[in-house]
Symmetry: C2
Subunit: 275 residues, 2 copies
């Protein structure tokens, strides 16, 4: 455990600094609890405010904070650097080697700043894809499988909806999702209206233990959450996917973004939004 | 424009490498079109596959690719480094200065790898928050405002739903959202069931031009998308927020994550999921 306050400073949302920062700090043992994010630091005045806040933290802690930043503008970085802190800018640390390799100077302008996870004109693609996911959720509503980039199948509570929404918000990918039901298991076949779109179908599988845990939180003690039921469904879902040669992954231990990223990779999907 | 292929290589999803990488490359002019992401490179064999792919690209391009990576494991990085490419690992580049500052060695183990945007045990918090957002969307359904962390208000198509979902997926924050309707404008007051929760209410405002554009894409030529209507609604929404001292931001030019990040900042919301 590092007993110093970590400050993430960014000219945008700060997500990149936080993500890379936490990973770096994890290498020094454990999770760090005292973190402060200072986002949208885009003016001289903002930067001076940051210096004041950091200096106050240093005084309070009796140890200089660790500042991890993604600040593109040289002037703003220079102001923040005056604070009583250890200062590491991810952007700055990596720019020099790239300049050497490419044999030219970089622009060093904030307008070309760290575009945090697609903070760019792709806004409407993202919104469209989100609306698509909501309109084609759970095998209901539009069922516009023709327009879908990918169609997720799986048993109830296998994570289809959050994954669909994440794929929309993060990548602008149109994802429909369809639950696998008892009648599908009896037929050991894809739901009828999915069959013409088989090439787009991707399966989410989950361990019975994990599924039971999830369902039990939702409907404690129900038949829906019983081990017999989840075992029946997970076994039949896997059988159906294998029999119909539907690619699938086990999501029991995975986070939403890991699931999304693996689906993109396996289905060779084009991101509609750049990172 | 850089005429070389960019390869993002990661032991996880690759989102961090892509985000920081695109921002760095933007400093050298324009968007880069030839990028390849190689995620989930976690074994020796995976790494050897990466080397082969990179070498093929180098041969095809007649120029060595630029590899930007977040690889925690020293051995895997050593294998990838053998490829015919310029190699910059974000993780590696930043570890040494941190080690010096903290006066200790880091673990250099992949188990503590780059946790891309919360790929961590907070999975169920995220799912719960997503379900909450879906169940409390558009002033309908549960209306469980007591359990909400924040309640978004705004006119139809001001971005409430995608923002709510993003806040859930990214931060595990429970966001309800409620549209502002004609009757609210007449009363110049918050919808009745929101009044006890006023401290949690946050407004999204939007320019009439942008709103018209969004609505017109959805229902071309409708009264709903007419300039008169969007001007009426945006003016009244802003008036209502000001009159009731509801903090608000203009979302006309903002991406979903920027909106979410600003709301967190303004409302001093605790992230339930670390980045």
């Amino acid at each position: 455990m590092i007993e110093r306050t970590i400050c993430f400073v960014s000219d945008r949302t700060g997500l990149t600094a936080e993500t890379l920062g936490h990973s770096l700090l994890a290498q020094f043992g454990g999770q760090h609890t005292r973190t402060v994010t200072m986002p949208f630091i885009s003016s001289h005045k903002d930067a001076q405010g940051v210096v004041m806040r950091i200096n106050e933290i240093a005084l309070r802690d009796g140890a200089r904070p660790i500042v991890l930043s993604t600040l593109v503008d040289d002037d703003i970085r220079a102001v923040v650097r005056q604070a009583n802190a250890f200062f590491l800018d991810f952007f700055d640390a990596c720019l020099a080697p790239l300049e050497a390799e490419l044999g030219r100077q970089s622009a060093h302008v904030a307008g070309h700043g760290v575009k945090e996870l697609g903070a760019d004109p792709a806004h409407s693609e993202r919104i469209d894809a989100t609306n698509f996911a909501l309109a084609n959720d759970d095998g209901a509503g539009q069922r516009d499988y023709r327009s879908a980039d990918v169609i997720l199948i799986g048993v109830s509570r296998s994570g289809k909806t959050p994954t669909s929404l994440y794929m929309a918000l993060q990548y602008g990918i149109r994802t429909a999702n369809v639950p696998l039901l008892e009648e599908d298991f009896e037929q050991r076949a894809l739901p009828k209206d999915l069959r013409p779109h088989r090439a787009k179908v991707f399966g989410l599988t989950i361990s019975p233990e994990r599924l039971q845990q999830i369902r039990d939180e939702r409907r404690p003690g129900s038949r829906y959450a019983s081990l017999a039921q989840v075992e029946f469904e997970t076994r039949n879902a896997l059988d159906l996917m294998n029999r119909n040669q539907i690619p699938h992954i086990d999501v029991s231990e995975s986070s939403v973004e890991e699931i999304a990223s693996r689906i993109l990779d396996r289905m060779k999907l084009e991101r509609h939004i750049r990172a």
